[in-house]
């Protein structure tokens, strides 16, 4: 896949997706995934057949996501907006003091992450970036994982990119991590001896108990899950699946979870971001 083909496909996807913004995804976002995947990252969901979890939901749940007054994730987005301009820490600075109006400065940020962090010299996701900013620039204590405030700011930032196509960072330093993520995705784990792909590639669209198995594209995180009755991160979701197959989950913020996030982001590239999504 050449860079120019990639850029061309993304432009196509961006045009298609802007029109779909806020209306909920209809999956076929241009389709950069038509371009060949490196062989070692091949998964069995072909590019053109990729579907967001949104498409597997009941119409009532879809309606809930589409409507900002009915979507409980928007309550967190509103919280995040308030926290954005709240001065905190030893530096007495708010996010807005450096980044200004998030509507402009944060547009397109979430669709790129996780990405290579120049300062930490490793891949980091959006929540880690926010916490790193708190510690290093605001002089405030980082929020714990899954803290409602961290999720709120994350949702607010990601919401600024709603409707934009997921655009993985092409930094070559990420390749090793992404490849490790791809390997983890195919690694059988736990007492049930399942890999992610055993359900989400080989059996996507079929049922596990009463629930439809989606293709595992992380298009709407942090998202409001009805089962959780709350907003939660992709890492929470990944850990939930690991517990489900009776494996010991990787810790929040662990290298492995970020690597999985990197791979899943690559796998979902070009699909429109839905944050805050609603899922059953």
């Amino acid at each position: 896949m050449t860079d120019s083909r990639w850029a061309c496909a993304l432009r196509w996807a961006a045009t298609a997706c802007t029109a779909l913004a806020a209306a909920g995804p209809t999956a076929q976002a241009g389709d950069p995934a038509q371009t060949a995947l490196p062989a070692q990252w091949q998964t069995s969901v072909p590019g053109a057949d990729r579907r967001s979890g949104f498409d597997f939901m009941q119409p009532a749940t879809q309606a809930m996501q589409r409507d900002d007054v009915a979507n409980p994730g928007m309550l967190s987005v509103a919280d995040g907006e308030r926290l954005w301009s709240l001065a905190v820490g030893d530096a007495g600075k708010a996010c807005a003091d450096c980044h200004g109006n998030a509507r402009h400065s944060m547009r397109g940020v979430a669709v790129r992450l996780p990405a290579w962090d120049r300062r930490l010299e490793r891949p980091t996701d959006l929540q880690q970036r926010i916490n790193d900013c708190r510690a290093s620039r605001q002089g405030a204590a980082p929020w714990p994982w899954e803290d409602a405030r961290l999720l709120a700011v994350t949702a607010f930032v990601a919401n600024q990119s709603r409707g934009m196509p997921i655009t993985p960072d092409t930094d070559p330093r990420l390749e090793a991590s992404r490849e490790r993520g791809a390997r983890l995705y195919r690694q059988r784990i736990g007492q049930l001896d399942f890999s992610c792909g055993d359900c989400h590639d080989s059996n996507a669209g079929r049922r596990l108990g009463g629930s439809v198995i989606p293709q595992a594209h992380p298009t709407g995180y942090p998202l409001y899950r009805l089962e959780w009755q709350a907003l939660g991160s992709l890492q929470r979701r990944l850990r939930g699946c690991m517990t489900g197959v009776r494996a010991e989950p990787f810790g929040y913020g662990s290298t492995e979870l970020v690597e999985l996030e990197l791979f899943l982001q690559w796998r979902a590239r070009g699909m429109p971001l839905e944050t805050p999504a609603v899922r059953p």
Binding site: D68, V69, A70, P72, L75, A78, D79, L226, Q229, A230
Partner: protein, 106 residues
Amino acid sequence: MARAMIKVPERLRRGEAFEIRTLIAHPMETGFRSKEGGGLVPRDIISRFVCRYNGEQVFAATLYPAITANPYIAFHTVATDSGVLEFSWTDDRGSTQTESVRIVVE
């Protein structure tokens, strides 16, 4: 309590029935869940919701533990005069959150 979202049409004709939609952040703790280490998480739900239109009650609801977290309540009323719609949610701890919205009836 915390954030609430309210949606009503901006302009209304007199005599028109219109929809009011509300969403409020609340954990709606049922009182049936166990805590880590035993015991139950104490019940904390919004038990009463009231909407007043220029001081007159036009809608009220009593809520029970089976209602989801962040309850969404939608209902209709008839536009009579311009004025204020006042919403109040009261929870088990006795705290009440009140929000109001101005409407224009032509």
